[in-house]
Symmetry: C4
Subunit: 259 residues, 4 copies
């Protein structure tokens, strides 16, 4: 195996006005949930798999006790307006160098298919358990801002304050150097839990961008389960506020253990 | 020395219907104990040594105060049904990249000897000090499941839930890409202690697979020593449960310190 | 993208008796504040950008929600006595190897422009919240010491005791091997906070070295804001000294969390 | 600069029956103290310097505020019986890979000078503040054991139990592969403090091996200073044993903070 190994499943794929969508694991797994949901609901076709020394040395085990080497995958989803080239995966790179090399490869492939627009999907951690359906945007070219506002994306000065770390951010930076317009769309989420509700909010924005109708049923179910957990967490939080009213740090830390 | 250095001890080795068995250090050292026991009891012959930049920069010191550079080794054990190519070693890779490179090399060598089946041996951490003689399996091809069930291996949906990390898992993932059938066999073990008792349980399964008779005497002795330690640990645990009945986390942590 | 990518913005730049000034993020961000202030106040011209696998995989987000890939930049500032080649940046290397490779590149570029003198700017952590306007120096050639003392730089035996870590130090070490004289100028600073006041003190030394007049207005404003924070911190510290008079370690740690 | 850069200070050096002695920083800095003392007392001549990406990106600052890039150095000390090729340095490699590459280089150079015997010097951590003048040995070839016992070196089965980590151990492992006899000589030391007293004990063994007379004056002075510190530590320890008689772990940890 080479440092990065691309296994083509489907050759000679032609894409119509393609847009590249990236949903890898990250804050609240919001981006991953949305991209995987798109792939499922739009009957996407897998075109390639990516294996790499930069992913953890690990296999995942499925319901048949069958193992699967950690990988990233690209799918094609056909929609009226655009064909979507979707990147999903089990993990992001575990090394700094790998992040750069993998993102450069993703862009090489995207360009090979003629991609001229990229959306990376992620979560923006608020530290609050209160739900918000806001979707925050950041762009590598301000020419995108007005268009995205029309789809309901909000923009805030210097936010996220700590920048955007990992593939979601790096792809914007690297695609700028290649003159490809790209935006990062982030569902607001606590940062402590996998967040299918935030994923639903982000999915609504995506549906508007691509002018498609997506069944959010499966995400809705998972969201309801999570709501119960959140409700219980809030209870715990309030009890703690009663007994530990002057120890904010301890309270925050407790929540973090659940994440 | 190159990044990975293979030193051949024995050239022109021919193997009869060989199976590759891997027992490197890991959870409870179950896999390592079993593979080393096989090598000893079956009068195995060492055929090569592997040194690498990816192992810790360390020597081990033996009973004669003689030092030995950290290494992995391959042995050949002859049995009626199959010749066994066994990989044992002092350490696994200390880097992600090294895990991939070393496992790729192990497979190169296994293929060179005509291996068409691989068993990687390990431990599955239960977090409980209660003994279980169960052996859990995961496969890179479900065609193996029925056969292994006959030997007493059990399979559980999505278990291990966190996947299988390190050479035991990675070899299944990488051999899948080479169309070699492989299974990971895991003895259930607390995860806190070296576990010769779990190794005995796993050895029984191996004996059935290869239709061989293995003296478990040496493992039995070490198992008895460990049982005494476990008994004492349980006592401590019960005392703690008495005095610290509502602090489960603390209790778990204490046990972890002994591991 | 290569491991390190240099993007030239301006070709055929000729420099008059150039001096290389380096102000990257570090202790109290003193060096970064000073170098960025120079670049701004002297209407510097950007001549190149440096991107690298060795920087964190991250973009920063500006006031227009536009992302910028983490980078280092070189500017040219024209002064009567010397042209200044200034290196500023968002981050230093995240890897040991990257530190060496990037510093070697910085020196290659500096030599290309004919640089024969280097000043690296930084902060020297005192662990005290008391302000000091001292600027400590270290040199890679003692021939520089007398000259720098005239500009108000002080020198202390074996200080900093722990050596100088990162680009500020490494550039002195590496330029010595190339026979380029270099000094590291460090503003004294607590080590807990971004310190524009220490930056002002260091800027005064720089102004004398280059015989230039620099408006410190913008730094002054930021310094005043920080003074308020420091005043509040000292209050907290005194309260803690009252209630926790024998737990010095805890007190130090608390301060560290604010940094 | 290359990954590893060797700068030859002295060409065409001929060595008479040379022995390679290695004293790099490590447990109690025992090896480093002894090797540096030898270099000083035997009026050694520096023959080369080694710089590397694998050392920390750092300069040290001397009494004249002059900076020195972190490096390793080789010296030649002439004695009646043997010429000594001595390796000393500021740091060991900060990466696993670097440890292997640097040690391979050290051996290349040693072989170039015709070295057929290696002594690596280090400390063996006892965890006790009680002084012992024992010197523990480990060898890469048991043929050395009897000879070393005559010089007062003691050998204990399987000690050090955790193996020997870093250059001191790795050089024994790697030189074995080149058929060069090597021993690691370890002064017993607490492991918490720089230990010039243990260095004196080790130096006595070295003096016997090379049949030389070394003035231990400078080490004696440093040893006396350390004895005072140790005495104070023991006092603290006894007080703690009074007040915290059943918390051994806490006591050990406290000591560790002083190291």
């Amino acid at each position: 195996m080479k440092e990065i190994e691309v296994i083509r499943i489907k050759e000679d794929v032609q894409l119509n006005d393609p847009v590249f969508i990236v949903g890898l694991p990250g804050v609240g797994h919001v981006g991953k949930l949305v991209a995987e949901h798109l792939v499922e609901e739009l009957d996407a076709e897998k075109i390639l798999e990516i294996y790499s020394h930069h992913f953890p040395p690990q296999v995942l085990v499925d319901e048949n006790s069958e193992t699967h080497l950690v990988k990233n995958e690209m799918y094609v989803c056909r929609t009226e307006k655009h064909d979507i080239l979707a990147l999903i995966g089990d993990h992001q790179s575990s090394s700094t160098e790998g992040h750069y090399k993998l993102c450069a490869l993703y862009l090489d492939i995207a360009q090979e298919y003629g991609v001229e627009r990229i959306y990376t999907l992620g979560g923006f951690p608020t530290g609050q358990l209160t739900f918000s359906d806001e979707v925050l945007g950041a762009v590598n070219n301000t020419v995108l801002t007005e268009e995205l506002k029309e789809y309901g994306v909000i923009f805030k000065e210097n936010e996220p304050g700590g920048g955007i770390v990992g593939a979601s951010g790096l792809l914007l930076g690297l695609s700028k150097l290649r003159n490809i317009d790209a935006a990062c769309l982030m569902g607001l989420t606590s940062g402590y839990l996998v967040d299918p509700k935030s994923a639903q909010a982000l999915l609504k924005v995506i549906s508007k961008i691509f002018d498609i109708d997506i069944d959010v049923g499966p995400l809705e179910e998972r969201a309801k389960e999570m709501e119960k957990i959140v409700a219980r967490l809030k209870e715990v939080e309030q009890q703690q506020q009663g007994s530990m009213h002057d120890t904010n740090t301890a309270k925050d830390d407790d929540l973090r253990y659940i994440g």
